[in-house]
């Protein structure tokens, strides 16, 4: 019993440390969607976001050779091929970091979500928001990210 009790602190440290490393990167694209044919995008700002993630997404899309704008209005100011919505989640561990980013591509007419991607990174696997934007878009489009944010 004494030995077990002595091992508990080490077990606790191990559990906490490994619990801090968990990453997920995934995308789900409607098989009928032609992502290659999409050229113009409008990124709608996620209400609670105060960090300008919408501009980062638009910048990454532009770096991928697309034409993207962003704004606070949920509706695009001009016709586009797809509306981009997203949700960012942040956590505190010494500093604030983005723990999760999900990005959706939607039909401008019906709002149908035809592609979605998500990156989840716990504290020890954290990346800059720009890098998470790039990896999610890369996963959705099946391409390497622009690398600009790495």
């Amino acid at each position: 019993m004494k030995k077990i009790l002595n091992l508990l602190p080490a077990g606790l440290v191990l559990a906490l440390a490994t619990g801090c490393v968990n990453t997920e990167l995934m995308a789900d694209v409607d098989p009928s969607a032609d992502l290659v044919g999409l050229d113009t995008f409008y990124v709608a700002k996620f209400g609670p976001d105060e960090r300008g993630i919408e501009a980062m997404i638009a910048a990454e899309l532009n770096a991928m050779g697309k034409t993207a704008t962003s704004g606070a209005d949920p509706k695009p100011p001009a016709p586009v091929d797809a509306v981009v919505t997203y949700e960012d989640k942040w956590m505190w561990d010494m500093t604030m970091y983005m723990i999760e980013l999900s990005i959706d591509l939607r039909d401008p007419e019906t709002n149908y979500k035809f592609a979605t991607g998500r990156s989840y990174r716990t504290s020890l696997a954290r990346k800059k928001p720009e890098a998470m934007v790039a990896e999610v878009l890369g996963e959705i489009f099946g391409t390497e990210s622009s690398g600009a944010a790495e």
């Binding site: 009790l5 606790l12 009928s32 039909d107 019906t110 979500k113």
Partner: protein, 209 residues
């Protein structure tokens, strides 16, 4: 020494249960956007055909498992306390209304074709959408896995199925996080799967006619 033993036991209890007990997800928060727009009246019914619910092994508000430190499972239930199919039906009704339809809820008690036909006949709606949920649950340990088996049918007033689309599988949909985030991930997966089920030429054609 007593304190150390108490601490040890507390640690074991925490490791075994963690944040796994009493989790609830809200599928009513799902913001389903369907790939269609139309007018007219649609009947909508969602049937719980999950074997463990039919057998009474799980309650109708069971929606998945959250595992503790050693993989020990705890039930996750709906935040509303209602059955999963009731929450799904509410979300679908909202989605169809947003797409322009007038929606009538169907009370279908089982997946038995006679029960479906009877419920549709009672409502008298010419065109009906029936979603049969043979599997839908999430399982979270380090990651969140979705197990699903859904059948979407467009059924006439006479009980004839004029279009159908089925989707089944087991997919990792996220990393295990806190309850609120897991709930949102589950709802987002529902949004995606339902959208995909509707985005089928046969289904869209049947609803357009």
């Amino acid at each position: 020494m007593k304190l150390r033993k108490l601490l040890g036991l507390s640690f074991i209890l925490l490791a075994v249960t963690g944040c796994a007990v009493g989790n609830q997800y809200d599928y009513r928060s799902a913001s389903v956007a369907l790939p269609l727009a139309g007018t007219g009246e649609l009947g909508i019914g969602v049937i719980d055909n999950r074997s463990y619910v039919l057998s009474g092994d799980k309650e109708p508000n069971f929606i998945g498992l959250q595992r503790g430190g050693y993989g020990n499972p705890f039930n996750v239930t709906t935040a509303s306390g209602n059955s999963l199919t009731q929450d799904m039906s509410e979300s679908l009704e909202n989605a169809l209304r947003n797409s322009g339809y007038t929606v009538t809820g169907l009370q279908i008690v089982s997946a038995d074709p006679a029960a479906v036909t009877s419920a549709i006949a009672q409502s008298g709606v010419a065109k009906n959408i029936v979603l049969t949920v043979t599997e839908w649950k999430t399982d979270i340990y380090m990651n969140m896995t979705l197990h699903f088996d859904l059948l979407l049918e467009v059924v006439t007033k006479q009980g004839d199925t004029v279009a159908s689309n089925q989707m089944q599988g087991e997919e990792k949909i996220g990393g295990g996080a806190f309850e609120g985030q897991n709930s949102r991930t589950a709802a987002a997966a529902f949004e995606t799967k339902i959208g995909r089920l509707f985005n089928d030429p046969e289904i869209l054609g049947a609803l357009a006619n």
